[in-house]
Amino acid sequence: MGKGLDVGTSFIYCAERQGREMTFRSQRDAFFDIEYSDFTQEMLTKSKVNYIKKGDHLYVVGNEAIKFANIFNRDARRPLSKGIISPSEKEALPMVELVIKSVIGTPNHDGEIVYYSVPGTPIDADFNLIYHEKIIHGFLTKQDYIPKSINEGLAVVFSELADEGFTGIGISFGGGMANVCLSLMSVPVVTFSLTKAGDWIDQQVAMAVDETQSRICAVKESNLDLTKEEGLTKIETALSIYYNYLIEYVLKNIRKEFEKKRRMPRIDKPITIVLSGGTTLPKGFLQRFKGILSQIPLPVEIGKVKMASEPLHSVAKGALIAAIAEEERR
């Protein structure tokens, strides 16, 4: 069978195939602590809320963590706030494990293969990627899966560029990171990640207009239109500016990394860029990207730029495709 797992900053998605259709199960990558009492524990159990009891605290995990955070007017904690599990967030490990368990469930058969996404090496920060990868690997092995990692950008290529022979550039604009992969015939040639993405936009705009990040995020996710040029509110104007900056930042770094690459393989025909991730959801993102791309030429010839068919699910879908292909080869 096989499963695909997208371990993201904001959400964790699991994709699996059921007959001719795919099922995507998601949970918020967040947890919230409340003081323990017998009554509270009983209430959570009866409501089927995911929680962990540790010492004199109860930790609500997943989608309900955000609801509880809103009720108590506090912030939920996000163990993957910058895209990976940090060694300093050891307290969050059981929470991440529980969220992963709750979306992936038990294997359909012994030794089922699951491909889980990992970010590329960040070029604008110093992160410990090995720790993150090994921790997720350990969680999945405990669940009796055979886990394998796949670069997030490559998963986007697998999901969307089958018609192009899995050749092209896959870019995932997530919450904590933007991941880029140049793939040739399914082989990753250049992969890297950048730590400026959706959350960075929220933070910068919040500082610029003196609003809370939650409010900025709500505006961004509800009715932001990047094609609109007049009648913009203060928040929309700031969001538009920072979206421009983010796209320029990503393209300039793509150009820099491609130019740095020794022995860049020769590509005979123009390649396709595919965009995915929650940060690409606002209307007009594709046009904005194309416009900025025309001003920042890349060392490879670009033919087409397109959006992923399901921007939120591309990474999980690509990981699922890799898992099924490997299962069928066995």
Binding site: C14, R17, R20, E21, M22, T23, F24, R25, S26, Q27, D33, I34, E35, L44, T45, K48, V49, N50, Y51, I52, K53, K54, H57, V61, G62, N63, N73, R74, K90, E91, L93, P94, L98, K101, S102, V103, G105, T106, I135, G138, F158, S159, A162, G165, F166, M185, S186, S309, E310, H313, K317, L320, I321, A322, I324, A325, E328, R329
Partner: protein, 125 residues
Amino acid sequence: MRGIPPRTMSDVWWGRKEKIKEKTIIVRKVIRERAQGLDEEAVREILREYTEDVLNTLAEKITNRAFSSGVAKRENQVEIKTAFIDPSEEVEMEHNFERLGKVEKSQTDIQDVVESLKKIKPEGK
């Protein structure tokens, strides 16, 4: 009978009223005299100070009421003790979970994509 007629209650009542009226007239005269000596600006200043005092007192009361619950909440806030957890150590946890989460379905058939990947990707790589 000659002499001072006896005072009735009505006389007493009206008498008191007359005295109050006289006193009031006298007080009004005094205030007018004193007020004439006061500058218009000085009167405004007195009124301003009085109003500020009243408003400050009200503002303080309103602020205390509004934030008293918030202050209480902050004092009762649970702080997470960031204890180091070695991944190798056995942590006793009770947990309750089922395979939950938001479920979305997609009608896309990916078998063709899987076949393409199997052809193009060398086995074991």
